[in-house]
Symmetry: C2
DNA sequence: GTAAGTAGTTACCCACAAGTAAGTACAAAC
DNA sequence: GTTTGTACTTACTTGTGGGTAACTACTTAC
C-alpha cells in the first residue's frame, strides 16, 4: 500500500489536523486546565507553570479559532474574561485518554517497566 | 483543580510524551507507511511525498531510538535495509484511530459539516 | 497619587525544525 | 568506464516556535 493513495493521504491529513490542535508546548496544558471548568486569564496563568501572558494569549486565540474553547467577556467593573471548552473541546476527552494510555505503555517500554501515572 | 497538582502534572507529561512521538512533519507518515508491512529506505522515500533523504534518515533514527521501529540490515550484495514496526509501534494503532476519529469530527465542525475520509 | 489587580500587547532575540543541494561509498549492469 | 541503484551523510540556509522584558489601559483600594 502506498502513501500516495488518496484515501490514505486523506487519513494522514485528518490525523495530522488532530495532532496540530494539541501540539506545541502549551495547548495541552490549557485544554487540560479547562476540563475542570471555565477559568479566567489570570487563573490559567497561575495554574499553568511558567507560561507567559504572551504565550497564553496567543494559544488561547488559536484554540478559539479552532473552536476548541470560547471566550466570554463580562462587563463587570474590573473587566472579567472567562474561557471554557466548547462541546468540540470536550469531545477531545476520549482522544486524550487514548494518548495518555499509550503514553503510559510507551513509558513502561522505554524506561524499563516502571509504572507511571497509574491513578486518575 | 490545579495544573500544579502532581497527579495532573504527571498525566500531562505522559500525554506530552505520546504527542512528541507523533509530532513533527514526518513521523506520522512514516509510521502509517509501515503499518502496511516492513519497507526499505528507498520504498519509504518513494511512498512519502516530498520527504528528503536527510529527513527520512533523521526521523527513522528518532523512531528507532523510541523503539517504535526496528532497522534490519541484510548482507545481500546491494546492501538492503528494512524498517518495520515493533510491537510498541503496532500498539499505537488504537491511539492513531482515536486521533483520526476526532480529526474527522473536528473537520466537520470547522469546515461546516463536510464529510471527509469516511471509509477505511 | 501610587500600588495592585483585571487582561492583555509589542518589540526584540534565539534555538531548533526543516528544506536544499551536493557528496559519499559500494556493487551490478551495460 | 559510465550509468544506475542501494542507503545514506554533510554543509549551509531559512522559517517559526517560543522566551524575555517592558508597556498599555482601565478600576479599585489605600
Amino acid at each position: 500500500m502506498n502513501q500516495k493513495d488518496s484515501v490514505c493521504q486523506q487519513k494522514l491529513m485528518v490525523t495530522r489536523d488532530a495532532v496540530e490542535v494539541i501540539q506545541g508546548k502549551w495547548r495541552l496544558p490549557i485544554v487540560l486546565a479547562l476540563t475542570f471548568g471555565s477559568k479566567r486569564f489570570g487563573e490559567l496563568q497561575r495554574d499553568i507553570a511558567d507560561i507567559s501572558p504572551k504565550m497564553l494569549s496567543q494559544e488561547l486565540k488559536a484554540l478559539e479559532e479552532n473552536k476548541i474553547i470560547t471566550r466570554t467577556m463580562y462587563d463587570s467593573m474590573p473587566v472579567i474574561v472567562e474561557y471554557s471548552l466548547t462541546p468540540l473541546g470536550k469531545s477531545m476527552n476520549k482522544m486524550l485518554e487514548e494518548l495518555l494510555k499509550w503514553g503510559v505503555h510507551f513509558r513502561e517500554e522505554i524506561l524499563g517497566k516502571q509504572a507511571v501515572a497509574k491513578r486518575s
